[in-house]
């Protein structure tokens, strides 16, 4: 299994250059069964990363470009009257795929956003009174531009909370960027990629991730982190129990990627900024949606040893 994981990471690395940490985070998010939000400036490789993930994991893939005039039906699908059969036939929307790339999710209106987000949470959609299950596994990778950009509808906290992780990609290091310029076009590489993991293997990995041991000492540490976020004055509000669970399951996934059968504090620390960044808000910042500074504060103020 470790071999498999390593090959997956390497394979993705051939397309997304010099971003191993982000690749690992994204994989952690997916094997923990959560949805991923990638937030960065346009052109940083958000779409490429999600494409690559879909291909390498061998999942059926569709992309929804969110715009301000996107309607819920454009996401979920619609029933159309068929003359031949004289009845309404349901035409499933792009959401009926295993991996959805919701591009620039914050450019759509809240109504369309919530159509997606409900599907994310329930893993089923109800259209015209009929409930339809979504395929399994079901992942949503959403990308968004920073909120300061023009023409965005920021996601409310409750909807941000649906994403297990929020990651940023950041500028590539010079060596990777050079390779990007010198080498083959990434899109071409992407199209040649073969799936590394079958869906059964993915399910096995997901199962293994849940089996990773978290000792009492580690849970104590997670609890201290959560507690600190709730009592310290710099936090506008603390982490929810869902946030704590998210932290623990991501740490387990990270430990599995690191070939360990138990979680260590470093695992928690590695995933912590991505897991809690979008769930917390600084007390001094009334509109902001979390910040890296808060995660750093948690990491440096809460000791590993109680």
């Amino acid at each position: 299994m470790q071999d498999l994981i390593k090959r997956t990471i390497d394979q993705i690395g051939t397309v997304v250059l010099g971003k191993e940490h982000q690749i690992r985070l994204a994989l952690t998010c997916l094997i923990s069964g959560g949805h991923l939000l990638i937030e960065d400036l346009p052109g940083m490789g958000k779409t490429t990363l999600s494409h690559t993930l879909a291909r390498v994991l061998g999942l059926s893939f569709n992309r929804i470009q969110f715009t301000s005039d996107l309607l819920p039906a454009d996401i979920l699908g619609i029933s159309i009257y068929e003359k031949s059969s004289s009845s309404f036939t349901f035409h499933p929307g792009p959401i009926f795929n295993q991996l959805i790339l919701a591009d620039e999710i914050n450019r759509a209106t809240p109504k369309s956003q919530s159509a997606l987000l409900e599907a994310m949470e329930e893993r089923q959609v109800t259209i015209e009174g009929e409930t339809r299950a979504l395929p399994s596994p079901f992942f949503v990778i959403a990308t968004q531009n920073p909120n300061s950009q023009a023409g965005t509808f920021p996601l409310p906290e409750s909807q941000l909370d649906r994403f297990l992780m929020r990651i940023g990609l950041g500028y590539p290091d010079p060596a990777s960027e050079r390779m990007l310029m010198v080498g083959e076009e990434r899109r071409a590489v992407l199209t040649r990629l073969q799936p590394v993991i079958t869906q059964t293997q993915l399910a096995e990995i997901q199962h293994a991730s849940k089996q990773v041991v978290a000792s009492d000492a580690l849970i104590d540490y997670v609890q201290r982190l959560v507690h600190y976020s709730r009592v310290a004055s710099e936090f506008a509000y603390g982490l929810s129990p869902r946030g704590a669970l998210a932290l623990l399951s991501c740490a387990k996934g990270w430990a599995l990627l690191d070939d360990r059968s138990h979680v260590i504090p470093e695992d928690v620390q590695a995933v912590l900024p991505s897991v809690i960044g979008h769930r917390l808000r600084e007390a001094a910042d009334f509109v902001g949606q979390g910040s890296g500074a808060l995660a750093q504060r948690l990491l440096t103020r809460v000791d590993v040893i109680g």
Partner: protein, 682 residues
């Protein structure tokens, strides 16, 4: 269940009740000999009633029964004792209140009262006994009472009395260091009031009147009279004459002390009386201290002749013997110096010459004429004395513990008819013969000999060492000691009473169980000596740890120690300890207790911090280990093993908080790292 109190519904836990009853029996048992029989009956009745109540067969006694009990106790105790304001009736009252409270345990607080009373009754035992066995017994009872106290705080479902007992033992064992510190350091304050102690304790020991038969009855007792500890080797056995009383008055039958003894005393810090010049010491002197058992009298024993003691409680009387200002009511200890060679009263005034030659004119006429006849035949007083001693030796005098009863003219009868006697017969008749011939003489009462305990380096003098001898005044020589007993039975003086009466098997005849009768069993003697020296140290250091002793001990270690300083030091220590405890408790509340595993890892962190690379807050063990490996590459392997072991123990298995992980391996690794760190110090 009717064992629930009808008043409150409180039921004392079974564990506690059982131990409470045990403790009660144990606490009252030593007092049984002092309590009237009816109080003992009440004790049993109350205990039985309480058990029945617990079993649910009987109910708590109604109010009128309790009132009857209380009033019968209040009336019965004054009736049963002649003196009300004494120790025994007070203890009887305490005991009866203690057992009656058993029947009234409606609340938890009542149980507390019973337990506190038990502690109190246990303490009263010390008023009567202070020996080691009793102290150990006291400890055992205190453990039982504490067990009951712990049991009171356990749930009713707690059914393991031995476990509770173990907790109590551990609890009390932990308090022993504190107990020792308090014992040594706590300022000893004189009691605020005093109770008449040890009333009715038989007075044993020599008395101030000697009549034939007194000492021979004393010789049946092996009770300890006093112990003497010498700084150097003790004098030989034959020189151990412990001078106690000087008897100068003879009424025809018994000898007694001069009535004007205390008219003139020689005391430290006061102008010495004129007669103090009549004493001169010659030759070697011995330093020693004596621990004397209480004898309710005011004379003390010393080797002749004592130097005036520094303590103002002890004085020297006109006949150059030591006496206490107050009667010896409890065990006392006094330090002395004595010179075995001395000269006292080289000249005698007419008054004393008259006093020490006075005998009733009509008493014992045959002896008087015998004395006059022998004196005429002898050339000098010294020659006369030798003649008399020779008479004792060569004529058929017998040294025996069973002398026949003598009639009115006791000296005549003894010298001329029975000729069987004990030391008082020989000393008395000897002095009488001297006086009848006009030579000043007096009887000295005290002890002779004593058993040297080599392991304790002290001489134990027992009642059967009591002895009487004579002092005769010779021109220019002063008072000279003569022991007529040695003329008859020299082994009495050289080897002790047992050897002297070996032929007639009368030694300690009245006490067949006395360990002293079996001196021929060597191991028994050895054991007895060992036990004796333990008891001696106990008496001199624990029971005899008086305020003076405490001060002198502490002065050895601290400069200028006095009671005020000791008190303030104790208070300072007390409040410092309390303050530290408070800080500790507050810190403990604000910070979780560090698990042993984490403590070990933190030790490692401190070690590395000393080397210059501290762990940051929130830094995980692996991250820290990696940073350390860069910082001190020479220790990289050790650091890696410590970190891996810590992570393995702390994080690799779920639920390791409940089951304490075995941290031995980690400890060893940290130790190895420490050693390596020391050897690779740059």
């Amino acid at each position: 269940m009717s064992s629930l109190s009808p008043v409150t519904g409180y039921e004392i836990p079974r564990n506690s009740l059982a131990w409470m009853l045990f403790a009660q029996v144990a606490v009252i048992a030593p007092h049984l000999v002092r309590l009237p029989w009816w109080i003992i009956m009440v004790c049993f009745a109350c205990g039985f009633w309480r058990v029945m109540v617990y079993q649910g067969r009987w109910s708590y006694p109604p109010r009128w029964v309790k009132v009857c009990f209380v009033f019968s106790g209040l009336i019965g105790i004054p009736l049963g004792y002649s003196k009300i304001y004494a120790l025994e009736p007070a203890i009887a009252l305490l005991v009866i209140a203690f057992v009656l409270k058993l029947l009234e345990m409606h609340h938890k607080r009542d149980a507390y009262i019973v337990i506190l009373l038990a502690y109190f009754v246990a303490i009263t035992e010390f008023l009567f006994f202070q020996s080691i066995p009793y102290t150990l017994y006291m400890f055992a009872t205190v453990v039982m009472i504490t067990t009951a106290l712990i049991g009171l705080h356990q749930t009713k479902s707690h059914m393991k009395p031995l476990q509770t007992f173990r907790t109590a033992v551990v609890l009390l064992a932990q308090s022993i260091p504190l107990m020792l510190v308090l014992f040594v350091l706590f300022p000893r304050i004189a009691p605020l009031w005093s109770v008449p102690l040890q009333t009715g304790v038989a007075k044993t020991g020599v008395t101030d009147v000697m009549s034939p038969g007194d000492i021979s009855s004393l010789a049946q007792s092996d009770a300890l009279a006093f112990t003497a500890t010498f700084e150097t080797d003790p004098p030989p056995y034959g020189a151990l004459y412990w001078r106690g009383l000087v008897l100068s008055e003879f009424d025809g039958k018994s000898w007694s002390q001069a009535p004007d003894l205390r008219r003139s005393i020689w005391r430290q810090g006061e102008a010495p009386p004129e007669w103090s010049n009549n004493l001169s010491y010659i030759g070697k002197s011995y330093n020693y201290s004596i621990i004397m058992e209480p004898n309710q009298q005011s004379w003390l024993f010393s080797l002749a002749m004592p130097v005036l003691p520094a303590n103002r409680d002890y004085v020297i009387l006109r006949d150059f013997r030591l006496a206490a200002v107050k009667p010896v009511r409890q065990r006392i200890r006094y330090a002395l110096r004595s010179s075995l060679e001395y000269r006292i009263d080289p000249q005698l005034t007419n008054f004393y010459r008259y006093r020490y030659t006075r005998i009733p004119a009509q008493s014992n006429p045959q002896s008087q004429s015998l004395a006059k006849k022998m004196y005429r035949e002898a050339s000098s007083p010294q020659g006369y004395i030798n003649d008399v001693l020779r008479m004792y030796h060569f004529e058929e005098f017998v040294y025996t513990l069973k002398p026949p009863l003598l009639g009115g003219e006791s000296i005549d009868e003894f010298l001329l008819q029975s000729r069987r006697g004990f030391c008082e017969h020989f000393a008395g008749s000897f002095v009488f013969l001297m006086r009848a011939a006009g030579i000043p003489a007096r009887v000295v009462l005290g002890y002779q000999g004593g058993e040297y305990n080599p392991s304790g380096k002290y001489v134990a003098v027992r009642q059967f060492d009591a002895h009487a001898w004579a002092e005769v005044w010779l021109e220019d020589k002063g008072w000279v000691r003569f022991d007529p007993t040695s003329a008859v039975a020299p082994e009495r003086v050289e080897r002790g009473l047992e050897a002297a009466v070996a032929g007639e098997n009368t030694f300690l005849e009245g006490s067949p169980l006395s360990i002293f009768r079996y001196r021929q069993l060597l191991w028994l003697t050895e054991l007895r000596l060992q036990l004796g020296s333990i008891a001696y140290y106990w008496d001199s250091w624990v029971v005899g740890y008086t305020p003076d002793r405490q001060m002198s001990l502490l002065s050895k270690y601290f400069d200028r120690m006095n009671r005020q300083r000791l008190g303030s030091i104790m208070l300072a220590v007390f409040f410092t300890v309390l303050g530290l405890l408070a800080v500790f408790i507050l810190r403990k509340r604000s910070r979780a207790v560090v698990a042993p595993l984490d403590a070990e890892f933190l030790k490692f962190c401190r070690l590395m911090q000393k080397r210059g690379c501290a762990r940051k807050t929130g830094e995980g063990p692996f991250d820290y280990g990696a940073r350390l490996a860069l910082y001190t590459p020479e220790l990289a392997t050790e650091i890696d093993s410590v970190v891996s072991e810590y992570v393995r123990l702390n994080y690799s298995c779920a639920g390791n908080n409940s089951a304490q992980p075995n941290i031995k391996s980690l400890r060893q690794m940290v130790r190895a790292l420490k050693i390596r760190a020391l050897t690779t110090r740059v």
